[in-house]
């Protein structure tokens, strides 16, 4: 395999700096989408635990739909569909086109929505694993809703939720590769560009795979530490 390794370096001929920046973009998209997913997931889990019948149905519908449709299709829908909607609204308001929606926004919205559906299941499961006795005990001693959540529910639910949330984060990272179809220059898009312009396809896709492996492995370590910390509070009997 006669790879020209200088192409991956940081020299004038190298793509190193550009790839590192693209890796950073992958991280930024992942973090934004995961946080959006966390907010949506929390709202949705809350709706399913405490909502009225219609709110519950709405939340169930959201999770079923988003878990049954390919991620790529959701991204296409937000990117091309978003452009169509923006154009329609813009024209109706009397603005001159052409209208566009950024790949970043469409990607974050789409992946956040997908991840929110999965995170809501994780959070709901975690809430249900909290023994009801401890919640009742908290109420009996006069804790308010917020205190109850902060001191009783959250610490116990977190130990169940953290490993599954770690998996969720890993799939968000991998899903961001799909945002490359919108032209947003993240890792996947950047290695495609580099592969095309140097004709070293295998080497650059391999480099892209390594960037993803680095990100996923490092986050695995972080989640493992978080898991251990959440368990530590448990063993001592107080947070």
């Amino acid at each position: 395999m006669g790879f020209d390794w200088a192409l991956l370096g940081f020299g004038p001929e190298g793509w190193g700096l550009v790839l590192a920046r693209a890796g950073g973009m992958t991280l930024v998209v992942s973090i934004c989408a995961f946080l959006l997913g966390l907010v949506l997931g929390t709202l949705c889990a809350w709706a399913r635990i405490a909502g009225s019948r219609w709110v519950q149905r709405l939340a169930i519908g959201y999770t079923v739909v988003l878990r049954g449709v390919p991620d790529l299709l959701v991204i296409y829908l937000f990117y091309f569909g978003g452009r169509q909607v923006v154009t329609a609204v813009g024209t109706a308001l009397g603005f001159e086109g052409p209208f566009d929606i950024s790949g970043f926004v469409a990607g974050v919205l789409a992946i956040g929505l997908i991840s929110g559906a999965a995170q809501s299941e994780v959070l709901r499961g975690a809430y249900q694993s909290v023994p009801t006795g401890t919640i009742e005990a908290g109420r009996v001693v006069g804790m308010g809703r917020l205190t109850l959540f902060r001191r009783v529910i959250a610490p116990q639910a977190l130990t169940t939720a953290i490993p599954a949330m770690g998996n969720q984060w890993q799939s968000v990272i991998k899903e961001t590769a799909l945002v490359s179809v919108t032209g947003l220059v993240e890792t996947m898009r950047q290695v495609s560009i580099a592969a095309g312009s140097t004709q070293e396809h295998f080497m650059f896709y391999l480099a892209g795979a390594v960037i993803f492996l680095i990100i996923t492995s490092l986050s695995d370590i972080v989640f493992r530490i978080a898991e251990r910390r959440s368990l530590r509070g448990h063993q001592q009997g107080h947070a």
Binding site: G68, D71, L73, L77, Q84, F202, L206, G208, L213
Partner: protein
């Protein structure tokens, strides 16, 4: 609402369904067999290292990169272009199927590993004592117990493979998503067309969920009561 347009699109997208189903079923079969091999080689230390590395690499990178690496990447090697496999590896269909199967194997092998771990040691010993060979024990005792245990997780994997086949549209294949993409470039009516495609996938995954639920009840009558 333009009903004529929608039903026309819907019928057109349905012509991509055979390819979507074909890729889903074949990649699950190929991936399942490879997953079984990966679990069998875990018995030796070297095999265990190989299987762990395989799972780590394929689960740690996006499927899209795996597809591109096989479709665009392998062609950069002269020896691949000269090999007997080249007539296959230059076709997007075989490259897509290969990537999907390799990817599925990594996830399925972990699901199967969980299932295998749940098989009681006593059941295996009983089989051995009654004179069954290794292969017979695997076929009659270990696999039936492990598969039943792994079924709920596996049905999720089936759905995610069904959704993953949409990625082959990026290497020019015209599955349901590929056709939808082509229709959008022709008509610019992205919302309607992609929603139509979404409905098709949604119906398929609901079918899989239902089917898996039925199979689970059918295979575990001791848990759910005998089927009527």
């Amino acid at each position: 609402m333009d009903t004529a347009f929608l039903s026309g699109i819907f019928l057109k997208l349905l012509t991509g369904l055979p390819l979507t189903l074909n890729l889903t079923v074949l990649s699950l079969l190929g991936g399942g067999m490879l997953a079984l091999v990966l679990n069998l080689i875990r018995a030796s230390r070297l095999g265990n290292a190989v299987a762990s590395t395989y799972v780590f690499v394929f689960r740690g990178t996006p499927l899209l990169i795996q597809i591109f690496m096989i479709y665009y990447g392998l062609a950069s090697f002269g020896f691949v272009r000269g090999s007997v496999l080249w007539p296959f590896l230059r076709e997007p269909y075989w490259c897509g199927l290969l990537a999907l199967a390799l990817n599925d194997a990594a996830y399925t092998s972990e699901i199967l590993r969980g299932g295998l771990r749940a098989v009681p040691q006593g059941a295996v010993e009983a089989g051995r004592v009654s004179g069954m060979g290794r292969f017979l024990v695997l076929r009659r005792i270990v696999l039936p117990l492990a598969l039943r245990q792994a079924l709920p997780a596996y049905s999720n994997e089936v759905i995610s493979m069904l959704k993953a086949t949409a990625l082959v549209s990026t290497i020019t294949l015209l599955d349901v998503t590929g056709l939808a993409r082509a229709e959008v470039s022709a008509t610019y009516r992205a919302v309607e067309i992609f929603l139509c495609a979404a409905v098709i996938y949604l119906a398929l995954s609901l079918l899989v969920t239902r089917g898996a639920g039925w199979l689970e009840r059918h295979l575990s009558p001791y848990k759910f009561g005998t089927p009527a």
